[in-house]
Amino acid sequence: MDFRKNTEANRFLQRSRSGYTFHTSFSSLDTTDLSDQEIKALKAQKKAEQRANLKSALKKALAAELTQVESHISQKTSRLQIAKQHVSSFKDKIDLGLKGKAIDALTSRMGRTKEIPVKEDVGSAVSSIGLKTFGLF
């Protein structure tokens, strides 16, 4: 089928591309005046459009769902900051109130827990949630 000719099918497809038949089902289209070849071409074109529409819809739906999941997990993992603050305040209390070699060794060990990249690694895992097409990875 030569789609360059201004056939009825071409005109139909042009109208489809222009939008107002974009979301219509194939079965609702009137194809009585079209040849089998034209119908086949139209069907293929329509299927491609439907697939593109579906992909767009799935993207949006998945993105919305995954954003919600990410937000929910972020909320849970925010307790990590509280845990780190607690450790820091325990260290400060011991540091300020007590002295001694064993205490120094203890507070030094507590201080070194800051070097464990727990916040970064958890943040990285949580923010990895997403779609390929969103360009996150």
Binding site: L66, R79, L96, G97, G100, S124, K132
Partner: protein, 494 residues
């Protein structure tokens, strides 16, 4: 029925006896004080000296009776020597004393200007002035003999008690020896508060016949002791016989607590924090504060807290602040902190303001509670803050898969109809695969499995480290609390 002639005094009894010994009226044989359970202790002997020693010897009612009202002392089986401490000085009494002295001083200066002689009657003027102000003579002696001559001279400057002067402590030792001589069959116990506690402690370490002693809020006397007694103190020889109750709020009882300790030191719980005395001082008290600061080199002794010291002088360290269990034992800070972990921070503040040596028993006690509480808090943090994070990250894959599955199912149910009438489930699956970040073992993943694994490994590593620290903190708290003999000797714990 004959009354049982035994003596079992509790901390509360010693506290009552010490407290009641402050009454001048008790300095007469035959006077008595009532202690717990309706018991009465009778004065069988007393001694007051010009150097400020105020000592009373109490005996049981039974002993007082069988000794013919204390006259036949060899019949006495139990005796409690009470050394009275420094009387607190009220602002009014102090101001009155100063006014009287100032007036006399001015008269002396005027007289000296006129003829270079001290006028007749000046001493009479002073005496008359003193007599017009109730208690001034008494308190003037307290200031000079107790607070200035003894408390500051010996406790602040750490002079040896045996410095050749017939000071209160030497007299206290002699008094105990005299009582032992007079009452050779009596088991002798000592007690005292403040400077009285110093005297009682000294009498105990100097005399093996003193069976036991309970003192309240006295400075540590270790630095004042002769070398041979210090050596015994270092070995903990007195800890089983001498119990010293101290308060973190009290300037006198915290004095020299940076040195080795002599008795078994226990910290009583005093809920009040130091108030910051300078703001509430009367003019007389301000005068005394300034005089003390100018006259004495308090800075040389790091255990001196001027505010706490002044509060002690002004009467903040009386014995009524103590509370007791039903069996008469003193409620200690240790117990309060065990029951109220939240108080640990407050006690730490007191500890800091008192400039206590970190190796003193007081510091060790607070440390043990701080550490024990910190270990508990840290474990709590692991359980309630860190564990939920580990769970959330562990379930990240399931949460994501569930969300994707929900979306997929929704679209699988609408393909083949309407606007997607040319599509099938296969198209949905294909699109989802296209949108997935990665495919692992046939599964489309919308998160980084590697990053999830890394995060979990790091979280478990963090948890292991915090748990190990919590265990270490807990063990340190226990170690401080249950210190072994060597640690106890060094740190003064028993």
């Amino acid at each position: 029925m004959a009354k049982k002639n035994s003596l079992k005094l509790s901390d509360e009894d010693y506290n009552l006896i010490s407290r009641k010994s402050y009454s001048n009226g008790k300095y007469k044989i035959g006077e008595y004080v009532e202690i717990t359970n309706g018991q009465k202790m009778y004065v069988a002997d007393c001694r007051k000296t010009l150097n400020g020693l105020n000592a009373l010897t109490f005996v049981t009612e039974k002993d007082f009776t069988i000794s013919n009202n204390g006259k036949e002392k060899d019949k006495i089986k139990h005796a409690v020597i009470v050394y009275r401490g420094s009387e607190p000085i009220s602002g009014g009494q102090l101001q009155s004393s100063i006014d009287v002295m100032s007036e006399a001083h001015e008269k002396m200066k005027d007289s000296q200007k006129k003829n270079g002689l001290i006028p007749e009657g000046v001493s009479d003027t002073i005496d008359a002035g003193i007599n017009n102000v109730a208690g001034v003579a008494y308190f003037a002696n307290e200031i000079i003999q107790d607070w200035l001559m003894t408390d500051i001279n010996y406790s602040v400057y750490k002079k040896p008690f045996e410095d050749g002067n017939n000071n209160q402590m030497v007299q206290a030792d002699k008094y105990a020896k005299d009582i032992h001589k007079d009452m050779p069959n009596a088991k002798i116990h000592v007690t005292g508060h403040s400077l009285g506690g110093v005297n009682a402690s000294y009498a105990l370490v100097k005399n093996k016949f003193v069976e036991s002693g309970v003192t309240f809020e006295n400075p540590n006397i270790y630095d004042n002791l002769p070398e041979d007694v210090k050596a015994e103190a270092l070995k903990g020889k007195f800890k089983s016989r001498l119990t010293e109750y101290i308060s973190l709020n009290d300037g006198l009882s915290m004095l020299n607590r940076d040195s080795e300790e002599v008795g078994n030191v226990k910290v009583m719980y005093d809920e009040s924090l130091p108030n910051g005395i300078e703001e509430s001082l009367s003019d007389g008290q301000k005068f005394l504060l300034n005089t003390l600061k100018k006259t004495f080199k308090f800075d040389e002794n790091p255990s001196v807290d001027m505010n706490l010291f002044l509060e002690a002088i002004m009467g903040s360290h009386d014995l009524s602040r103590y509370s007791f269990h039903a069996d008469g034992t003193t409620k200690t800070l240790d117990e309060y902190l065990s029951e109220n972990p939240g108080l640990t921070d407050q006690m730490l503040k007191q500890l800091k303001s008192a400039r206590t040596n970190p190796y003193s028993s007081v510091a060790i006690l607070i440390k043990s509670h701080v550490l024990t509480n910190t270990a508990k808090s840290l474990k709590n943090t692991i359980d309630h803050e860190l564990e939920p994070v580990i769970t959330a990250v562990s379930q990240l894959d399931e949460d994501v898969e569930s969300a994707v599955r929900d979306v997929k199912n929704t679209y699988v149910s609408i393909v083949g109809f309407g606007q997607y009438d040319l599509l099938t489930e296969h198209d949905v699956n294909e699109i989802i695969e296209e949108l997935a970040l990665e495919k692992v073992k046939g599964e489309n993943l919308f998160y980084s499995q590697k990053k999830q694994t890394t995060a979990l490994e790091t979280l478990h590593n963090y948890k292991r480290e915090l748990s190990a620290i919590a265990d270490e903190v807990e063990n340190m708290g226990k170690a401080y609390h249950d210190a072994d003999a060597d640690l106890a000797r060094k740190m003064g714990i028993h």
